[in-house]
C-alpha cells in the first residue's frame, strides 16, 4: 500500500511537468501582442512594453520562461496579472466558491442518482423505473445551459422559490439549484449505471448465498448487494469529482458565482496569459490528486484490485 502510493505519487511528477509545460507553451504561443489594448485607446509606450517583456522574460526561450515559472510556483508564487494583481489572490478568493459548488453538486448527484438507481434496479419496469428512465433521458439530452436557464427562470423568476442568482455569501440554499444543474448530467449517468449494476448483481450467486444464510433482506441489499454495485458508481463519481473541481464556466456564469471557471474564462477573453496558465496548473494538480484518490478508493472497495 505504502509503496503503491509512493509509486503513484512519483508517476504524477512527469505527468504534472508534461501537462503544465504544454499549457504554458500553448498559452504563451497564442499569436498576437499580449500587451495590445492594455493601455486604453492608444498604443502602449515602449517603456511599458520593455518592462513587461522583461518581467515575463518574453525575450528568453520558452524553456527558460517555464523553468522560472516553475521555480516561483514551487515557492507558492503563481505570478501576477498584467495589471499587477497577485494571481494567488484571485485563486484564493474564487476557488473556495468553486469547491463549495462542487461539493453541493457531488452530494446532489450521489444522493439522488444513487437513490434512484438503487430503487429502480431493485424494482425494474415499475412506475418509478419508467419515470427515472424518462427523466434521466431528458437530463442527458438537454444542454446544461438550457437546464440552467429553465430552472433559473421557473424557480427563481416565475415562482420565486429561490433567488435567481447566488449572492457573494454563497449560502447552501442558494447553491442547491446551481448544484443540481451542474450535477444533472452526471446524476443521470449515475442513476443509470447504479440501476444496471444493481439489477445485474441482484441475481448474483453471492446474493443468493447471503439470502440462504438467513440474513434479513435489508442486510442482503444494503451490505452484500450495494457494496458490489457501488464499484462502477464510485468510478463515475470519482472522475466527475475532478471535472467538478475544475470549475463550471457555464453554471458559474449563469448563476453569477465568482468561481474559478468564471475567472479562467475572463482571463482567456482578456488574454491574461499568466492568469490562464496559473489557474489551469492548479486545476491539473487537483485533477491528478483526485484521480489518485479515486484509484485508492477503488482498490479499497474491491479487494481483487491489488496494489502491487
Amino acid at each position: 500500500m505504502g509503496r503503491y502510493l509512493l509509486r503513484r505519487l512519483l508517476q504524477l511528477v512527469p505527468v504534472f511537468i508534461g501537462t503544465t509545460f504544454l499549457i504554458y507553451w500553448l498559452v504563451w504561443s497564442v499569436p498576437g501582442d499580449p500587451f495590445a489594448g492594455k493601455c486604453g485607446e492608444r498604443r502602449c509606450p515602449q517603456q511599458y512594453v520593455d518592462f513587461m517583456t522583461d518581467k515575463y522574460q518574453l525575450d528568453q526561450s520558452i524553456f527558460v520562461q517555464y523553468a522560472t515559472y516553475m521555480k516561483n510556483l514551487f515557492q507558492g508564487d503563481f505570478g501576477q496579472t498584467f495589471g499587477g494583481r497577485s494571481i494567488n489572490d484571485i485563486i484564493m478568493t474564487s476557488y473556495p466558491n468553486t469547491l463549495k459548488l462542487a461539493v453541493v453538486a457531488l452530494l446532489i448527484e450521489a444522493v439522488i442518482g444513487l437513490g434512484a438507481g438503487v430503487l429502480t434496479g431493485l424494482r425494474r419496469n415499475g412506475f418509478l423505473d419508467n419515470l427515472v428512465l424518462v427523466s434521466t433521458l431528458f437530463l442527458l439530452a438537454l444542454p446544461i445551459f438550457v437546464i440552467a436557464f429553465v430552472l433559473q427562470w421557473l424557480l427563481g423568476v416565475k415562482w420565486g422559490i429561490v433567488t435567481p442568482t447566488v449572492s457573494s455569501e454563497m449560502r447552501i440554499t442558494e447553491l442547491l439549484v446551481p448544484g443540481f444543474v451542474l450535477g444533472s448530467a452526471s446524476m443521470a449517468y449515475i442513476a443509470r449505471v447504479a440501476r444496471t449494476s444493481i439489477a445485474e448483481n441482484r441475481r448474483a450467486d453471492y446474493v443468493r448465498t447471503a439470502i440462504a444464510k438467513g440474513l434479513p433482506m435489508r442486510r442482503v441489499v444494503g451490505v452484500h448487494l450495494l457494496r458490489n454495485s457501488l464499484i462502477p458508481v464510485v468510478t463515475l463519481l470519482g472522475t466527475d469529482l475532478g471535472a467538478l473541481m475544475g470549475g463550471a464556466i457555464v453554471t458559474e456564469g449563469i448563476f453569477g458565482i465568482n468561481g474559478i471557471g468564471r475567472q479562467v474564462y475572463r482571463a482567456i477573453v482578456t488574454k491574461e496569459s499568466a492568469t490562464v496558465v496559473s489557474i489551469v496548473v492548479v486545476l491539473v494538480l487537483v485533477y491528478l490528486l483526485m484521480n489518485l484518490l479515486v484509484d485508492l478508493l477503488y482498490a479499497a472497495l474491491d479487494p481483487r484490485i491489488r496494489y502491487e
Partner: protein, 347 residues
C-alpha cells in the same frame, strides 16, 4: 391419478402407517415450472423425498433433471419469476414452509436448513473477507459482539481444517484455493448448526484429489453433528461412500429411490442402469465408453408416457402411453418403471 399414487406410495422405508410423521424434512409432490418468454418449462414434476437426522440422501441426476431447483425451492431461493411452485409441500418438522411468512422462512435458513453451493468463487461475496462472511451470521443471527463472532468464525474455519485459521480469517475469497474456498463455504453453512445441510454439487468445481477430501470432510461433519444431509450430484462415484439412500432424478421426477447398496447392486430403473454402466471400468480398458443414447427431454415438451422412453433400451408401447408411478419394489426401495419388477427379479 398417478400423482396420488406417487405421493402415497413413494416413501420407501416408511413404516406403512399412512401419513409419514415426525420427519425432519420432507418434500411432497412438488411441482415447479419456469415461465419464460418461449413457453412454460415443467422443471419439477411431482418430486417426493425426505431426509432424517443423521442420514444422507443423495439426489442424483444429470443437469436439467431438477435436482438443484428442488433444493432451491426448499431453501426458498428460487428465482421468481421465472420459477413458480405450482403444487406440493416442503415440510420442515412437519410444517409446510411454502405456507410460511417470509420472515418465518428466513429464520429457518441457516439455522434449520443450510446450503453449500457449487461454485464457491461466485457464491462467496468477492468484496468481503471470508471471515467476515462467517462472522456476520453470528453477529446478525445470534447478536454476538464483533470480537465473539470473530472468535467463533475462526473456530469454524478450524473445524473445516483450514490451516492457520486465524490468519486466513481476513483473507478474501480470491486469495483461497478452490478446495480451501469450498471448506470455507462449508464452515459458513455450518456456522448456525443447521439440522439439514443441502450440498449442491459441492465438489464439481474441484479437482479429483480435492474432491475426495471435501467429501470426507462433509461426511465426517455430518456424522459428528447428526445432521440430515441432501447431497446433490451428478457423479455416481461421489455418492457411494457418503450416502445412505439415493434418489435418482430424471426430467423433474424421482425415477428410482433405494438404499445405496441395493441401488448399486441391482438398479430397478433402466436409467439408473444406464448411469451405472456408463462408469468407465478398468476391466474394459480400450473399449468404447458406454453411454445413454439420446438427450434428456425438452422440459417445455416432455414426451407422453414415461419421460425416459425415447432413450430407454427396454421401452415398450405402454411406456409411450402411461406415466409409470413411483411404486415400491421390495423393501425400502421404489422405482418409476413399468418393468421394475423384472429388473429387480432378474438373476
Amino acid at each position: 391419478m398417478s400423482d396420488i399414487l406417487v405421493s402415497e406410495q413413494s416413501a420407501p422405508g416408511a413404516d406403512g402407517s399412512g401419513r409419514p410423521s415426525g420427519r425432519l424434512l420432507e418434500v411432497e409432490d412438488l411441482r415447479v415450472e419456469f415461465r419464460t418468454r418461449d413457453g412454460v418449462a415443467k422443471v419439477i414434476n411431482g418430486v417426493t423425498y425426505h431426509v432424517e437426522a443423521g442420514e444422507t440422501l443423495a439426489v442424483l441426476g444429470e443437469s436439467g433433471s431438477g435436482k438443484s431447483v428442488t433444493a432451491q425451492t426448499i431453501m426458498g431461493i428460487l428465482d421468481t419469476p421465472p420459477g413458480f411452485v405450482t403444487n406440493g409441500q416442503v415440510r420442515f418438522h412437519g410444517k409446510d414452509m411454502l405456507k410460511m411468512s417470509a420472515e418465518e422462512r428466513r429464520r429457518i435458513r441457516g439455522e434449520g436448513i443450510a446450503m453449500i453451493f457449487q461454485d464457491s468463487l461466485s457464491a462467496l461475496n468477492p468484496v468481503f473477507t471470508v471471515g467476515f462472511q462467517i462472522a456476520e451470521q453470528f453477529r446478525i443471527r445470534r447478536g454476538m459482539s464483533r470480537a465473539d463472532a470473530k472468535k467463533r468464525a475462526v473456530e469454524m474455519l478450524d473445524q473445516v481444517k483450514i490451516p492457520n485459521a486465524k490468519g486466513r480469517y481476513s483473507n478474501y475469497p480470491h486469495q483461497f484455493s478452490g478446495g480451501m474456498r469450498q471448506r470455507a463455504m462449508i464452515a459458513m453453512s455450518l456456522a448456525l448448526d443447521p439440522e439439514v445441510l443441502i450440498a449442491d454439487e459441492p465438489t464439481t468445481a474441484l479437482d479429483v484429489t480435492v474432491q475426495a477430501q471435501i467429501m470426507d470432510l462433509l461426511g465426517e461433519l455430518q456424522r459428528e453433528r447428526q445432521m440430515g444431509m441432501i447431497l446433490i450430484t451428478h457423479d455416481l462415484g461421489v455418492v457411494a461412500d457418503v450416502a445412505d439412500r439415493i434418489a435418482v432424478m430424471y426430467a423433474g421426477r424421482i425415477v428410482e429411490e433405494a438404499d445405496v447398496f441395493e441401488l448399486y447392486r441391482k438398479p430397478a430403473h433402466p436409467y439408473t442402469l444406464g448411469l451405472l454402466n456408463s462408469i468407465p471400468r478398468m476391466d474394459e480398458r480400450g473399449q468404447e465408453l458406454r453411454t445413454i443414447k439420446g438427450l434428456p427431454p425438452n422440459l417445455m415438451n416432455i414426451p407422453p408416457g414415461c419421460p425416459f422412453n425415447p432413450r430407454c433400451p427396454m421401452a415398450q408401447p405402454v411406456c409411450r402411453e402411461k406415466v409409470p408411478p413411483l411404486l415400491q419394489v421390495g423393501a425400502g426401495r421404489a422405482s418409476a418403471c413399468h418393468f421394475a419388477e423384472e429388473l429387480v427379479n432378474r438373476d
